[in-house]
């Protein structure tokens, strides 16, 4: 709907200049081939094609006449800077190249005639372009595909003759075969055209440049600008943007060198604006945005103060606004083409500034065009052609360049006409459009606050434009941002506008809401304003017409009064619900449960605090608190009083329903929770307060949750920090800020009055039946019914514990795996007040480690709260951690008959098994008996009997047993054999007599058994004496089924002399034994090594003397020679 205005930049300035090429001789309407050629030229012009704008013109088209060239500028006085038609002329009217299309094949039968016809057509075009440097080219449209160049002699000959006839250079004649590859040919053609066009613009630039020498600086200042601009524009047409930029820059500085006065200010600014636009545009195109911004800043700084005629100051602001807007557009366009903008440098700022100037323009217009003047006749803005000759001039004095206006009267009328015209400009519309552009930009560049600010401005502009609905919508949208940021000064200002909007629309609900918020504490209005608004609010509540808001347009206010009166007479729709989510209004509300949890038998207590921030007392008619999950409770949380509507005016401050400004009022509610709500949360979903009455207007204020608003949570924190909060405030007048909202509470079960005591003797010993005695005593005043005990392993521990723990009530037998880890709901029956019950629980823990046991006693009982009987389910939990330890450690070892430690045992050689039972229990243990269960691979040498029967072990004591055993022969030489099991039966000493005996089974370790072919044992006295004979007898036993050859030798020793066979070879029959006797004669006292006996078996070289020597003693104690030598020798014998 917005038509281009005087201030919009002309489209020929804003477009990208492209070489203009005219195509003639094409009949695109009726000739299909021509149509196809034209389409190929103009369709799909993407960036990779050369920048040419094509136009089809008839062969006899009249091009603009070229004026006769001036030979001297001596007496010439220019009338303006740039003609309005110039740019368009070179973009769309004067071609750089005219191309004549002509259908002619090289072998055309009537070649001569066609050639001359073509020459004529060329001539017509040339005549029409008289005086211009425009090139002419001919394209022959041919049906046949041409031969490669040089092969077709006829073609080259005829081409030369055609060129001659048409006076064309060979470079200007083209052939276009109409074949499959049309587009390819066309692209080659247009590249050639482009070259021609560039030459044309080059010569044009030279031509303009050549004028320069004729100019002088005094009279031709305007021409300097004009020429530079033209050169730059031609450079652009030539696509030489670098030079174009250079010339535009010179043109720009020349513009500012012009002498300025009131009459030519507009022209200078217009041209400066144009040139600036071009410079910025090219800078963005060259990807040097900073240059563009710098140029624009310079431009604005230079032009800011060039206001021109004071009566037309709005023109300057309009122009300024446009400058910013078009720069914003350029910037935005560059961004769309890939430029990146940042938060502090984006098009939004330029749109914002444009909007700012537009606002200023509006104010100036309102100020300057206020007087009632009729549009002058005849119209001073009318010109003969309907348009201006030069950019930026006045219609009533075109071409005038001297300092003073030619006709003061005309000037006055002209200005008047402009002022009248300005009145009709839709200023608000312009401002809003610019603001919304800016909003879109700031949204993109993460400036939420700037966006809000601009939206406020938009809203205010809509308000001025009397579009209140849109204004309210925008203002309402941003209000909550300012509310959450707590910028009350800004919020108040916005609310003020919103209130006026809603007043002017007679929008009751909005009016009430905004008034309430403006009266509230968040508003920064003065008391008297608040008081005025509150009085209006009371009027509205009484269904009367409120006073008009100040600062309202009187006419609109009058209309609004009428609207309000209609509202008043209208029946119904007088009930409004206002949801207050974070909105602070004239009343503040805080609700809190007194405790975050209540026991079922305690009444739930809820306090509701109300405080009025308004200048006058407020009276309400109903107050109710809505709670979650139960509609049942809501009836307890209502304060209601039927009041007549006239009471609102003079409320009595001592009344319950009346709130005095600044005073906090507390309402207490109390109710008993339902049994089924145990474990549930009760939440305050809403607080509703009714202002007014049902028969007048009534407003239901609805606080979500426990009340509060945008400021209150912060205030609560501040109050908590404050030094003032430390006491001093009497409980009754609790300081408002210190009240914190507690919008939910838990209902928990009643505290049980029952005691559960456990007695036991930790730690538990593994596998024993550990007894825990539970005693339950009721301290209730009434009967505890249906008492149930759940006892055992507390659920939720390691799963393995469940497997290794068994619980039973029967302590007489040992548990097995069929018993559970937890015994649920053991019925105990009813307990009278004070009655005590005991239960024994037996626990068998297979593995060691800590376990948590749970004893859960549940019962029901009836009690009274607030005069009603309630059935309560109570329960008490008791947990205990019990450690399980092993009762004793069992160690065992194999020893030889000499109590020497054995690594391995030998077949048929007796040995001993020793067991040690070391008590690890802190409590004394009674070992009932022990038993050895031998594996078949071992036999006892005598009947093994328990040696520890009925032994009591204290902590740390050890009981040992010894068994004599032997291994029967094994199959192969050596093998590891099982020994059997060792059973120990025990119980705690402290346990009662009939407690079961626990049997602990210890598996004995395996042992290596080895078969030996030869067994040697020595027979010798226990000690020797120096120089007394010491007889030693060696028994050598053959344990194989074969005759054995044995070689024996005794090595000499320093300590002994001996007699006997020193070296002997003998043969021992299977199973037989050989005896060797030696007489040793000790020479030294002390422990002495016996002479070594070497035995080697010829059949078993593996059985070394080393092995056999193990059966023999290696040394003997030799006593020194005593005085009673006789006695000693007797003993030795």
């Amino acid at each position: 709907m917005m038509s281009p205005t005087q201030w919009d930049l002309p489209p020929e300035l804003c477009c990208r200049p492209m070489a203009f090429v005219a195509l003639t001789g094409l009949d695109v309407t009726y000739n299909a081939i021509h149509r196809a050629i034209w389409d190929a030229f103009c369709a799909n012009r993407r960036a990779d094609r050369v920048p040419i704008s094509f136009k089809v013109l008839p062969g006899d088209h009249e091009y603009p006449k070229c004026r006769t060239k001036r030979t001297s500028y001596e007496w010439y006085i220019p009338k303006g800077i740039l003609k309005t038609g110039w740019m368009n002329k070179h973009l769309n009217l004067v071609p750089a190249l005219v191309v004549l299309f002509y259908e002619l094949d090289w072998d055309d039968p009537v070649w001569k005639e066609k050639q001359s016809e073509c020459a004529t057509k060329v001539e017509i075009v040339r005549t029409s372009l008289q005086g211009r440097n425009t090139k002419v080219a001919v394209v022959l449209i041919q049906k046949k595909t041409p031969l490669p160049p040089g092969e077709d002699l006829v073609a080259s000959e005829r081409a030369a003759s055609l060129c001659n006839a048409c006076d064309l250079s060979g470079k200007s004649l083209f052939v276009l075969p109409h074949t499959d590859h049309l587009v390819g040919y066309i692209i080659r053609l247009e590249n050639a055209f482009y070259e021609h066009a560039q030459t044309y613009y080059y010569t044009e630039i030279r031509r303009v440049k050549s004028h320069k020498e004729f100019l002088n600086k005094t009279t031709h200042q305007l021409l300097f600008v004009r020429h530079q601009f033209k050169i730059a524009f031609f450079s652009e047409l030539k696509q030489d943007t670098q030079n174009a930029l250079k010339y535009y820059r010179t043109a720009y500085s020349l513009v500012h060198e012009l002498r300025t006065h009131e009459t030519n200010m507009l022209e200078i600014k217009t041209m400066a604006g144009f040139t600036n636009y071009k410079i910025c545009r090219l800078c963005f195109q060259h990807n040097t945005p900073l240059d563009a911004i710098a140029q624009f800043r310079k431009h604005i700084d230079l032009c800011k103060k060039k206001i021109g005629s004071a009566e037309l100051a709005f023109e300057h602001t309009a122009w300024m606004s446009k400058q910013f807007q078009s720069f914003g557009d350029l910037f935005d366009e560059a961004i769309k083409l890939g430029l990146t903008a940042i938060q502090t440098q984006n098009p939004g700022f330029y749109y914002q500034q444009a909007a700012y100037y537009a606002q200023e323009r509006k104010q100036q217009a309102a100020h300057m065009c206020a007087h009632e003047v009729r549009y002058p006749t005849p119209d001073p803005l009318e010109t003969l052609s309907g348009a201006l000759d030069f950019y930026g001039q006045r219609a009533w004095r075109q071409g005038h360049q001297s300092i003073d206006p030619p006709d003061a009267e005309k000037e006055k009328v002209g200005i008047q006409a402009l002022q009248v015209k300005e009145k009709d400009v839709p200023h608000s519309e312009l401002i809003i459009a610019l603001l919304s552009n800016a909003v879109a930009q700031f949204k993109k560049y993460k400036c939420p606050r700037m966006k809000s600010h601009l939206m406020v401005q938009m809203g205010e502009e809509y308000y001025h434009a009397k579009d209140y609905t849109k204004a309210l919508k925008l203002l309402d949208y941003v209000m909550c941002d300012y509310r959450t940021e707590r910028w009350w000064s800004l919020l108040t200002s916005i609310l003020g506008t919103a209130l006026r909007c809603s007043y002017l629309m007679a929008h009751v609900k909005d009016y009430i809401t905004y008034s309430m918020e403006l009266i509230g504490r968040a508003s920064t209005l003065w008391e008297d304003q608040k008081s005025r608004i509150e009085k209006n609010l009371i009027k509205v509540l009484m269904n009367e017409v409120p006073e008009a808001e100040p600062d309202c347009d009187p006419a609109s206010a009058k209309a609004a009064q009428a609207l309000w009166s209609d509202r008043v007479s209208l029946a119904g729709s007088n009930r409004f619900t206002i949801e207050l989510l974070n909105v602070g209004i004239l009343l503040q509300c805080k609700a809190r449960f007194l405790s975050p949890s209540f026991h079922l038998d305690d009444p739930v207590q809820l306090h509701l605090y109300l405080k009025a921030d308004c200048p006058h007392p407020v009276r309400f008619s109903k107050l109710c608190v809505s709670l979650s999950n139960q509609v049942l409770y809501n009836q307890f949380c209502v304060v209601e009083e039927s009041c007549k509507s006239q009471d609102i005016l003079e409320p009595l401050s001592q009344e319950n329903m009346c709130l005095v400004p600044g005073k906090t009022r507390k309402y207490s509610f109390k109710f008993v929770a339902k049994t089924e709500d145990v474990g549930k949360k009760i939440e305050i979903t809403a607080v509703d307060l009714m202002l007014g009455t049902d028969n007048g207007r009534c407003v239901l204020l609805n606080w979500r949750g426990g009340g509060g608003d945008a400021a209150s949570s912060h205030e609560a924190i501040q109050a908590a920090r404050s030094f003032r909060s430390r006491g001093r405030v009497p409980e009754q007048h609790a300081q408002w800020d210190t009240v914190s909202i507690q919008a939910s509470t838990m209902i928990i079960s009643r505290v049980p009055k029952i005691s559960v005591q456990l007695s036991h003797k930790p730690p538990a010993l593994s596998n024993e039946m550990y007894c825990i005695c539970v005693s339950i005593q009721s301290n209730e005043k009434t009967v505890a019914k249906d008492v149930k005990l759940t006892a055992g392993l507390k659920p939720g521990q390691d799963a393995n514990l469940t497997q290794s723990t068994q619980v039973t009530l029967n302590g007489l037998e040992v548990c097995d795996e069929s018993h559970p880890a937890l015994l649920p709901d053991i019925a105990i029956g009813d307990l009278q007040p004070g009655e005590k019950v005991e239960k024994s629980l037996y626990v068998c823990c297979v593995t060691t480690g800590p376990r948590i046991f749970l004893f859960h006693v549940a019962y029901t009982m009836t009690t009274q709260a607030e005069g009603t009987d309630i059935t309560c389910k109570c329960h008490k939990d008791e947990t205990v951690t019990i450690e399980t330890v092993v009762p004793f450690d069992v160690a065992m070892k194999f020893v030889s008959t000499k109590f020497e430690h054995l690594e391995r045992v030998y077949v048929d050689v007796p040995f001993l098994l020793m067991t040690d039972i070391l008590s690890a229990s802190p409590w004394p243990l009674h070992l009932v008996s022990s038993q050895l269960l031998l594996a078949p691979t071992m036999v006892a040498l005598d009947e093994p009997q328990s040696q520890v029967e009925h032994v009591v072990l204290q902590t740390g004591e050890c009981a040992s047993e010894c068994f004599s055993l032997q291994c029967p022969p094994v199959l192969n030489g050596t093998s590891s054999v099982a020994s059997g099991q060792y059973l120990i039966s025990w119980k705690r000493c402290s346990s009662c007599a009939d407690a079961p005996v626990v049997t602990t089974v210890v598996t004995l370790s395996h042992v290596m058994v080895e078969t030996i072919p030869l067994y040697v044992h020595a027979e010798l006295p226990s000690f020797g004496r120096v120089r007394e004979s010491l007889p030693v007898r060696y028994h050598i036993q053959n344990r194989t089924g074969l005759v054995q050859d044995v070689e024996m030798s005794v090595e000499p020793s320093d300590a002994f002399m001996f007699s006997g066979l020193k070296q002997v070879r003998l043969r021992i029959l299977p199973g037989a034994e050989h005896e060797m006797l030696y007489n040793f004669y000790p020479l030294m006292a002390g422990y002495q090594n016996l002479p070594l006996l070497n035995i080697s078996l010829l059949r078993f070289p593996t059985v070394s003397g080393q092995l056999l020597r193990r059966f023999l003693p290696s040394r003997i104690f030799v006593k020194p020679q005593g005085r009673q030598a006789e006695d000693a020798s007797i003993a030795a014998a």
Binding site: Y356, R449, M450, H453, R486, W487, S489, L490, Q718, F723
Partner: protein, 139 residues
């Protein structure tokens, strides 16, 4: 000299705001409020790790036709904003920095007052006097 000086709390609500009385107060409130966009962005642009070494002075926040807005953020995220007339070219970066330093010192004094509750609006006379000294004197 400044035309508007503001102290903004960590949560972005004003603790103190004062502008030259000759001009529209509301406009300055809006200017300060919108400048918080840039402040927030600048603070968040500095990585968490670098937060310790961050310079408190944020420099020129954004230029408008008429005013230059400068920002400063204390380590406790309290923001100071100074608005200067664009035509006032005598004020260099160094002068602005020293103004912020003074402001910061004075603010620290306010915070040290045991009777001042952090988060409350500033009503100190000393602070007021110091700000007045930095403001353009209304003639």
């Amino acid at each position: 000299m400044a035309v508007c000086i503001a102290v903004i709390a960590k949560e972005n609500y004003p603790l103190y705001i004062r502008s030259v009385p000759t001009q529209n107060e509301l406009k300055f409130h809006y200017t300060v409020h919108t400048s918080l966009d840039v402040v927030e962005e600048k603070i968040s642009a500095v990585g968490k790790a670098m937060a310790d070494q961050r310079e408190l002075y944020l420099g020129l926040l954004y230029p408008t036709e008429d005013y230059k807005v400068y920002g400063y953020v204390t380590n406790s995220k309290v923001k100071f904003v100074i608005v200067v007339d664009s035509s006032n070219t005598s004020l260099r970066d160094n002068e602005i920095r020293s103004m912020f330093r003074k402001l910061h010192n004075s603010f620290t004094d306010v915070m040290c007052n045991p009777f001042y509750n952090p988060g409350d609006t500033i009503q100190s006379k000393a602070f007021d006097g110091m700000v007045s000294a930095m403001m353009v004197q209304a003639s």
